[in-house]
Amino acid sequence: MPGTASLRDKHSPMNEARQIWYRGSVCRVFIAAMLASGLCAACSGSAQASFLAPGGPIAAQEGNLFYWVIGLMMIVLIPVFVLVPWFAWRYRRSNSRSEYRPGWDFSWPLEFLIWGVPVLLLLGLAFLIWPNTVRLDPYKPVDGTTPMEVQVVGLDWKWLFIYPELNIATVKEMAFPMERQVHFAITSDTVMQSFFIPTLGSQVYAMAGMVTQLHLKADRAGTFKGENNQFNGMGFQDQKFAAIALPASNFKDWVRKVRELGRPLDENGYKALEERTTVKAPVYFSSVEPGLFRKIVQKYALGNRQPLASRPDRQEARR
């Protein structure tokens, strides 16, 4: 072929440079991967609003599980990080010293290894996942004590917190006593949302006509970020609230403050909340219309009608 020799010689400086570039690119990918994951871990360790800087037992256990899974997965990941660049480099075409066996395509021992190890790892993970999923079920109480009740209503674009035992309600701010578990009953009076306080742990969806449940507990005082995690429209980014864990006495003060500053949450008050707006500052309600939460749920329960059992005519008939 005329001109071939002049095109590129195998040992030309050009070719050398190219080889170095190749080596560079493979290593660079690897280094970037390592760096990035390192950075990621470093950052999350110092994170404020994260289950990795836990504010309670649920988040702490979830954080442990997080590291356990990463640790176990390293059994299959580290060989890939090491062997892929190593094999690629060791068996590069220009390395004439390495062995070349183009017909070699199977080995029983290796086959056992590459299927066996992941299967064992799967078993290990299964034993890790199942009990922990049961233990950390959001519906399961954190401990044996009586929880404080909070009813959560997802609205566009704010959360309404009703304290049925205290007969108060708030928006944008939710205080609770620390070192006592809180039971959240969650619903939505609009589209689907997701109720989440990252520092305390699990999130659960809020859906109209349905009540989901969540148990959380704070074991230190603090103001944690609370949010909606499921996009629900133009005010989504502002649907945050302050979740404030307080020592028991301070919590009492807070309740008093709500009662003093608030006004009653009646039908008109609720109508105003239903409007699709964002709320900038906390809103307090000194009393709540009885059965409001159930009313909100039942609005959707059977197609805009009340469930049969609670309809007056049905009760009439039974009597």
Partner: protein
């Protein structure tokens, strides 16, 4: 009053308010679409290309041309969706305690179109196009089993893509995300045309993919050449088979879900509404019944591509062929049993979550096996670091990190704290970018010379790899950190200073990805300009191993003058080893091929009209389009003359010319693979 009635009859809900003058950015984007369309029309006029376009491309039922058009659509839509991604990154870089430059209304349209396009109009057409082009060549056949149906599949995807583009000019797109969860997308919360655009674009795409799946599966079952047993098929064909079976089962639930949502929106029904005993959980179930297999539909064909690449560029037989086949089948099977992991936080019992979590981790087993198989393919090979191989290496390392975060998300208690955060966004981009996108771009580089007769520019190829790999790490690793700090996905503005530095880094990464996109375009232009230097008409530029490399580049319309007979795996390598490749057959015979058909373009027009009419409630257009589409199908069933014959002398003429060229070409060693000496004839000694 009369005026408005007439207007409504003719134009439905269309009005001046639908024009994109609500923001300069929207106006600019719309102008770009219009300018692009006018530009194409002018170019076609200038070169007198209308007839060429009609006879060579639009009405062609050749699987190769349909494959190329699929890939072209994918690349155009990819450009748009990448630009949208960069706009979103820019917004988040500016959005710390500030409204930024995109109002929530615009931002949410962007994440919806970005996701919808990337899944339905980038990834799906790309892999459909590659399979379309390569699979029939790999199994030694001349066309798909249903060539006209293939062109109808293309028509429906094209109509859906066109609808996506039109949505930039008329009205606003949905703001409900690519998964379009009701009740948010129901009439009572979103009365505009946005969700309707989404419904009909996705419906068209899903019907197209169902038909594609049927077509591919039947072709692989029925049209393999003599000797091509299942366990001799190249791995790419195996993954194509698994993918098409998955398409057949996974796409209909999506069609059903979107049509039921349409019933709610158009006919006042109550499948997923809050009121009237509707239940949005049913939508979520149906959607992910499609959506989870879907992500494996997206990942399996690239796995096939990587299998070909590791073997070809290590100049070695694929390690663990059977292992890879079983792993492919296992992934396809298990992927139908994991869908609940998309909503662990919906409040079902812990046991259900645990079962689906463990099933999800189980998918990782065959996937991990594959990575190790590819690694062992390099072992004792002779690895050449060409562009496709660089993609593959970057993939292997990056993808396992995505696998790790996938297992984290599959652990329900961990999912409870990272679900719906940017951690999730980082995870699925970490699977789909190295997996699907790198794989598709690697396949594009690998098979481009086969489709066009010239190679893509290698240097620009490396530039693209560099930009996308660095860009990926910079753009998505910060998202893991932001997600762990509880930043919800789809956030237009935020108030937590912790996110800010990460958002800036991610923006820089997005910049690299944009450079990669520009590189992709430049590479194409540079390669076309240098097509004579890069020509490899003989058809085997990479010392390929399977049948598609045994024919000229581009292959003749009939693919194989004589259908090949296969004796084992890697049949072309075997043929080259014993020097029986490029043999002149004893006798040429006339070949029967399907005739061109106008069914495809007519259905594209009809289905687009139907969908557009439905979006804007232009009932004459919607019903007209619907009726027309079915009339075309019925009319086609009366056409008897559907085959044409390519005479033996014509076949002989084409083949002889090519074989003469083969005889005159000097085979190149792999050292000269990237030089002008590589005319597509490989030296067989390694």
């Amino acid at each position: 009053m009369v005026d408005s009635t007439w207007w409504h009859l003719l134009f439905g809900n269309l009005s001046a308010g639908a024009l994109p003058f609500y923001s300069p950015i929207a106006t600019g984007a719309a102008a770009l679409v219009v300018a692009g369309a006018i530009g194409v029309v002018l170019l076609l006029n200038w070169f007198g290309g209308w007839k060429w376009l009609w006879t060579e491309w639009l009405t062609s039922v050749d699987h190769k041309k349909i494959g190329i058009v699929f890939v072209a659509i994918a690349l155009v839509m990819f450009s748009r969706a990448v630009i949208e991604a960069i706009m979103m990154r820019l917004q988040q870089a500016m959005g710390f305690d500030s409204p930024g430059y995109l109002p929530p209304d615009h931002f949410s349209q962007l994440f919806t179109t970005h996701g919808t396009i990337m899944v339905f109009f980038m990834a799906m057409p790309f892999l459909t196009g590659l399979i379309n082009y390569v699979m029939p060549l790999q199994i030694g056949t001349r066309d798909l089993s249903f060539p006209v149906m293939n062109s109808v599949s293309l028509a429906l995807t094209a109509a859906g893509a066109a609808l996506m583009m039109v949505s930039l000019d008329l009205g606003k797109f949905s703001t409900g995300g690519w998964s379009g969860y009701p009740p948010y997308t129901e009439l009572s919360y979103n009365p505009g045309v946005g969700p309707d655009y989404w419904i009909w674009a996705v419906t068209l795409s899903s019907i197209s993919s169902t038909m594609t799946g049927i077509n591919f599966a039947v072709t692989i079952y029925k049209k393999r050449c003599p000797g091509m047993h299942f366990l001799r098929m190249p791995l790419f064909t195996w993954t194509a088979l698994a993918t098409s079976i998955m398409m057949i089962f996974a796409m209909p639930p999506l069609t059903v879900a979107t049509l039921l949502l349409a019933c709610d929106r158009y006919l006042g029904m109550h499948f997923f509404t809050n009121s009237g005993a509707g239940n949005m959980m049913n939508f979520v179930n149906l959607f992910w019944l499609f959506g989870h297999p879907e992500v494996y539909i997206l990942i399996l064909p690239p796995f096939g591509v990587y299998s070909e690449l590791f073997s070809t560029f290590s100049a070695k037989r694929l390690y663990g062929y059977l292992s890879l086949v079983y792993a492919t089948a296992a992934i396809a099977f298990i992927s139908f049993m994991v869908w609940v992991h998309h909503y662990f936080t919906m409040g079902q019992s812990a046991d259900i979550n645990a079962v689906f979590g463990i099933a999800t981790v189980a998918v990782g087993v065959p996937t991990g096996v594959k990575i190790y198989d590819w690694m062992l393919t390099m072992y004792r090979g002779r690895v050449r670091f060409s562009v496709p191989m660089l993609w593959s290496l970057a993939f292997a390392i990056t993808f396992v990190i995505g696998g790790l975060t996938g297992v984290l998300l599959a652990t329900p208690p961990v999912d409870y704290v990272v679900h719906n955060t940017l951690f999730l966004v980082a995870h699925f981009h970490n699977m789909i970018i190295p997996g699907t996108l790198f794989g598709m771009l690697a396949g594009y580089h690998f098979w481009f010379p086969k489709a066009t007769g010239f190679r893509l520019h290698e240097g620009w190829g490396r530039f693209i790899v560099f930009c996308f790999v660095i860009g990926f790490y910079l753009a998505f690793f910060p998202l893991y950190a932001m997600g762990l700090e509880g930043m919800p996905r789809r956030t237009q503005e935020y108030y937590d200073p912790a996110y800010y530095p990460w958002a800036i880094v991610a923006m820089v990464g997005a910049g690299f990805i944009f450079l990669g996109l520009l590189g992709l375009l430049t590479q194409l232009v540079v390669s076309i300009l240098n097509r004579d230097k890069l020509a490899c008409h003989i058809g085997d530029p990479w010392n390929g191993r399977s049948l598609e490399w045994s024919v000229s580049a581009p292959p003749p319309e009939y693919n194989f003058a004589v259908l090949p007979r296969v004796e084992g795996r890697d049949s072309f390598t075997a043929a080259k080893a014993v020097d029986i490749a490029y043999r002149r057959p004893t006798r040429y015979e006339a070949i029967e091929m399907p005739k061109n058909s106008a069914v495809g373009p007519l259905i594209a027009f009809a289905s687009f009209s139907c969908a557009f009419g439905l979006v804007w409630h232009i009932w004459w257009m919607a019903s007209g389009g619907f009726v027309m589409a079915w009339l075309v199908v019925i009319a086609r069933s009366f056409v008897r003359d559907t085959r044409k014959v390519i005479s033996a002398t014509e076949v002989e003429r084409i083949e002889k010319r090519w074989l003469r060229e083969v005889a005159l070409t000097r085979p190149v060693s792999r050292d000269d693979e990237f030089t002008c000496a590589n005319k597509g004839l490989a030296e067989t000694t390694e």
